[in-house]
Amino acid sequence: GAGVSQSPSNKVTEKGKDVELRCDPISGHTALYWYRQSLGQGLEFLIYFQGNSAPDKSGLPSDRFSAERTGGSVSTLTIQRTQQEDSAVYLCASSASLAGGQRGTDTQYFGPGTRLTVL
């Protein structure tokens, strides 16, 4: 019944290594979003999942970034061959949006984020 959870809260990795970031959305929320927040920047949209529909990957910055959502619930964001410019806070959000849904159901609820540092 809690909010959106993310793990790990902090991740330090070496350049060139792969990392996986996990997001557990609010139970029953069908929509899940990933954002990236770099120092001094706003939130940058990365990817969106809605139910069983094909995800909107339009915000992924390169082919090193990918995400999955298994069983319509938990999502994993994977960054391959990490670079220093990937260092940021990665935020996950979920909402109760339904396709073609009503106003008022679209509010996104955010997790605490994963702070990724690439050395």
Partner: protein, 116 residues
Amino acid sequence: AQSVTQPDIHITVSEGASLELRCNYSYGATPYLFWYVQSPGQGLQLLLKYFSGDTLVQGIKGFEAEFKRSQSSFNLRKPSVHWSDAAEYFCAVGARRSGGYQKVTFGTGTKLQVIP
């Protein structure tokens, strides 16, 4: 495509003083508008939102915002700031996409400092 501008990167106010954080958006239709707050080390928390109806929206923690279509603005206000309001504030605009979901674009944030 929609966009959001928060012209003030950093604002300092005295505790007890009034506050107004500016937000201007660009979108061709009636937008969904949001204000979120992010305290140090915390995730984003929704303060208030505007979808339709009354253009003056009340939120949590004593905040309110007014949607002004003619000015493309959605400024956040609070009559008396508390030290605990020190945080970063993000304005956001949402637009429904053809896939049925809402793509939200965030501003770059305004960092609020509260001095005694």
